[in-house]
């Protein structure tokens, strides 16, 4: 377990993360919000701020592999955790994640503001065998990501394309998915 620690309101606290696979240390005040630290201090602008209150999903990142709203998380609470943002999804050689590629091919956006959050939710969902794979289940699991441009149809299509793509590439994963479906 993490050790006990106490910090005054204007102290800066060092937080150690694994950010997109790299170890990072950043000094934050106790009230600093993960979303703001990513955007303002760590210069990762891919994660977007829509509502700042958990109501839109634009700020979705993965914390230890789980999709969360970074606007409702204290940066200090991420000590020792792995944080992945949209910047961390592609391969080192620039190859896009299958979900990113499918969004491109399906034209699953208009203005693109909600897109990083949509993609972070979709990648976490495709890795979660507790969530069924039919369209209705996907729509429900993705409902925490609002798209003001209304690109929902193509977003759904892109996610289902990526699912097939990922199953084709990884037989182990495809077994799991069909088990869940049955």
């Amino acid at each position: 377990m993490k050790d006990y620690s106490e910090h005054s309101p204007d102290a800066t606290v060092p937080v150690h993360l694994t950010l997109n696979g790299e170890p990072v240390s950043v000094d934050v005040t106790p009230n600093a919000i993960l979303l703001d630290v990513l955007r303002e201090q760590l210069q990762l602008g891919g994660t977007k701020k829509g509502c700042d209150h958990g109501q839109c999903g634009a700020c979705t990142v993965h914390v230890d592999g789980i999709a969360m709203n970074s606007c409702l998380r204290l940066a200090v609470m991420c000590e020792g955790q792995e944080v992945t943002t949209i910047e961390g999804l592609a391969e080192a050689d620039g190859r896009l994640h299958p979900v990113q590629q499918a969004f491109l091919e399906r034209d699953a956006y208009q203005c693109g503001y909600c897109t990083p959050g949509q993609i972070m939710s979709a990648t976490a969902m495709l890795d979660d065998e507790r969530i069924a794979s039919d369209d209705a289940a996907v729509r429900e699991a993705m409902s925490g990501n609002i798209c003001r441009c209304g690109a929902y149809r193509n977003i759904l299509a892109a996610i289902q394309d990526a699912r097939q793509q990922m199953q084709g590439a990884d037989p182990a994963r495809s077994d799991l998915a069909s088990e869940v479906r049955s």
Partner: protein
């Protein structure tokens, strides 16, 4: 955003001590409620005690068939837990009907029990609100009260209790275990949330330096059918206008045991004991369900904009009872 001191607790005792030493402290688990309300300046903690690393993440049956849930179990993990799905399907359904995937991933069981109202006047520091600022009045009374309660309100507050999870808990029955500076105590779930009365700012039976450590469910009704019906302005990621959670066990075509609770229409998670009494031993058919719904809503006091909630809740009840009956017939659990 307002500043606060921060402590990361490494034991339950230390968390309670850290809080006990504070005038205005708050625990943080998932942060989805606290940080939302700190940003709005509705909650103003001077110190935040992070309890997220404490060992309160287990779900396991204790003696006599009761499921004990650690206060830090996330809403997602609880809803998908095999024992919850099998023995307490109503709880699983209710949780999955709430919030979004991301918020459920963050939200803790304890935090959900401590959830505060979404009343827009409570959330707006420029408005009068007896819950936020005791004695300041209630702007909802004469204001836009479409979202407000028709059951359990007082002249001081008509704010709705927003939780879906708690509606299922009201129907199932549970005990909340608290740890404070002087040890632990158990509170019956039905008494944990308070009616607003003259003190709407006192929302739960818990003191500032008590930590919820666990929730223990009553033994499951067996065999049972269960259904949670949530009616709202959009199909997902929205709070209830009216919700009903029902559990039914059948004795042939007759109802054996029945449980019914409401959300979205009341100032606390609302168990309908009279309606349950009407259901027991009666034929499991629409006429019975309608009588139960009438009884459940007999005391409803609609306001200027929310009278629609009465027929809406009636529908939610009838549908939940019908679906729970169908589920029981199909031999669930």
């Amino acid at each position: 955003m307002r500043t606060f001191a921060y402590a990361r607790a490494d034991s339950v005792e230390r968390a309670v001590d850290a809080q006990h030493a504070q005038q205005a402290g708050a625990f943080v688990a998932g942060g989805t409620l606290l940080l939302d309300l700190v940003k709005l300046d509705v909650m103003r903690p001077q110190q935040v005690t992070d309890i997220s690393a404490l060992p309160m993440k287990e779900v396991a049956f204790v003696d006599d068939d009761r499921l004990r849930i650690g206060a830090l179990v996330t809403n997602t993990d609880l809803a998908h837990h095999p024992d919850v799905r099998q023995h307490y399907p109503l709880l699983s359904q209710a949780i999955l009907n709430g919030a979004s995937t991301q918020i459920r991933n963050m939200a803790s069981t304890g935090g959900n029990l401590m959830q505060r109202t979404r009343c827009p006047y409570f959330r707006d520091v420029a408005a009068a609100c007896n819950k936020r600022e005791p004695g300041s009045g209630c702007d909802a009374m004469q204001g836009i009260n479409r979202m407000h309660a028709v059951l359990g309100g007082s002249e001081h507050c008509i704010a709705v209790h927003p939780s879906d999870m708690c509606v299922a808990l009201a129907a199932i029955g549970a005990t909340v275990t608290l740890q404070g500076p002087d040890g632990t105590r158990d509170v019956d779930f039905g008494n944990f949330h308070r009616l607003p009365g003259e003190t709407p700012h006192q929302e739960q039976d818990i003191t500032d330096d008590e930590l919820i450590v666990a929730l223990t469910l009553a033994p499951p009704l067996a065999p049972q059918g269960a259904a949670y019906v949530k009616l709202r302005d959009r199909a997902s990621y929205e709070f209830a206008l009216a919700a009903a959670g029902a559990m039914i066990s059948l004795d042939g075509d007759m109802i054996g045991e029945a449980r019914l609770a409401l959300g979205g229409v009341a100032t606390k998670p609302w168990r309908c004991a009279e309606a349950e009494e009407i259901l027991r031993g009666q034929p499991a058919e629409t006429a019975t369900f309608e009588r139960a719904a009438e009884a459940a809503l007999a005391d409803a006091q609609p306001l200027e904009h929310n009278a629609f909630k009465v027929p809406l809740a009636r529908q939610a009840i009838v549908r939940a009872l019908r679906d729970a009956t169908r589920d029981a017939k199909e031999g669930h659990a």
